[in-house]
């Protein structure tokens, strides 16, 4: 869902009273035609607000909280759960962490792996929902928002999730509202108020068994995706071989 142009103009007046649209576009790096189109249609993208807030050194979460659909982002936000934090660690980083554990490789001997790459990663959206899912979350999200379960899954598989669905998912799972916005890459961990090193801390607190099992699950999911891609590719090649 997008934000109404009227509310957006009011907000923009508040943060940059004297700036013209051209100025706003220049400092925020948004294309003028893009913003003009969004204003004409009366639908301003959430990412537009995020870009402009960053340009004017305003926390995007605080900026979004001034808009009605994102009220829940206001005020003191609960910290992310350990599962959420770990879900935002890429599979490659997880595997490096596994290999650095003495239980896995006694020869590794205390060599700590390189720092974690920043969120989001290639499967961060699906991993995030899996991390907060009690088994009924998808069902509750589709009941609350009216999105078909199939379309919701398709978004997760494509590593996409619209901001309002991300918020709805957080609500449905009873976790803080920023997790999904971080997982979709709309905002950074820092902007979401996650303490620095929170993901590393969560990773370090996982037991050898938990970490290894988690890495195994990730590998299995990755293997499934890769195999499916290979099958699709093989079928396409076959069609071209016969009909191309």
């Amino acid at each position: 869902m997008t934000l109404p142009a009227k509310a957006f103009q009011r907000w923009l007046q508040g943060i940059a009273p004297d700036a013209s649209t051209a100025d706003v576009c220049r400092v925020s790096g948004i294309k003028r035609t893009t913003l003009a189109q969004q204003l004409v249609r009366g639908k301003v993208a959430v990412s537009t607000v995020v870009s402009i807030s960053r340009a004017y050194n305003i926390n995007p979460v605080a900026a979004l909280a001034t808009f009605e659909p994102y009220r829940s982002l206001a005020g003191p936000l609960p910290s992310p759960t350990r599962n959420e934090l770990v879900s935002q660690i890429s599979t490659a980083d997880l595997l490096r962490a596994v290999l650095a554990r003495p239980a896995m490789d006694p020869a590794a001997g205390g060599k700590s792996p390189p720092p974690l790459s920043p969120a989001p990663h290639a499967t961060s959206v699906k991993n995030w929902v899996d991390a907060i899912d009690d088994g009924e979350v998808r069902h509750r999200v589709s009941a609350a928002t009216g999105i078909a379960a199939q379309n919701y899954s398709a978004q997760l598989t494509a590593n996409r999730l619209s901001p309002e669905l991300a918020i709805a998912t957080s609500h449905a799972a009873g976790v803080g509202p920023t997790g999904g916005l971080v997982a979709t890459g709309l905002i950074t961990e820092e902007e979401a108020g996650w303490p620095p090193g929170a993901r590393q801390g969560a990773l370090d607190s996982l037991s050898d068994g938990d970490l290894t099992t988690l890495a195994g699950d990730r590998l299995q999911a990755l293997g499934k995706v890769l195999r499916r891609q290979e099958q699709d590719q093989a079928q396409t090649e076959k069609i071209w071989e016969n009909l191309g």
């Binding site: 699709d232 016969n242 009909l243 191309g244």
Partner: protein, 245 residues
Amino acid sequence: MIEILQWSTLAICGLIAAARVPSAIRGENRSLFYIFALMTLAILLSIQGPYVAIDRALGGINLANLLLRFVIFAAIYFVGIRVSRGFGAGGALRLITGKAGMVVLLVVSLVMVALFLMMDTTGSSAGLTGVVGTDPWNSALLEYYGAAGRAYPAYITLVLLPAMVRAVPSRLPVLIRIAAGVLALGAVATGLTLTFPLIPPALGALEFIINYTAVLCFVVGLAVIWAARVRSGKRISTHRTYTEK
């Protein structure tokens, strides 16, 4: 209106066949070129002007119509093999090239030839319109002859239909899914030709539209798959090899 449909279908099909010549010379899927060439010939033979000219040369007993039927059979047979192989429809391929397919082809062909020989077919006319006159025996024969000619294409395309319908919502490249949809439409149109005896003579134009829709769908569907391959930049490996510097 029908003339425009006929000639434009001929033009589209002929252009695609011509465009396929260079790749046929390179040895890429020659049978696809043959399919397009056969389809072009079939359309040519179903238009009054060219039909009369060719039939006169063959003796003026509408032998060209029988030829047209077998040209269609050949084209549809190759389409069936190529499409079922390409889309990995093993069951469909067996139904086309296996015992069942051969029996259907043989029976339909024999019945068709027998009916043709039993008919009095003097006087060239595309689609045999007006040839049989008012003789009830002859027109009954013509009805069955037409049905036999439509039976084999309908059999092949209905065998292919499930694989096409399955491919539309699949995760294949979008152009291939579009092509599968177009081919499925062609299969449905070909299946509909079986209902021609039920169409009242007043709606005769409907038969033309269904026929040409079917042909156009097959030609366009196959061309779209070809376009998808060209767009992907993949070359088909041919038996020729060359060394690059």
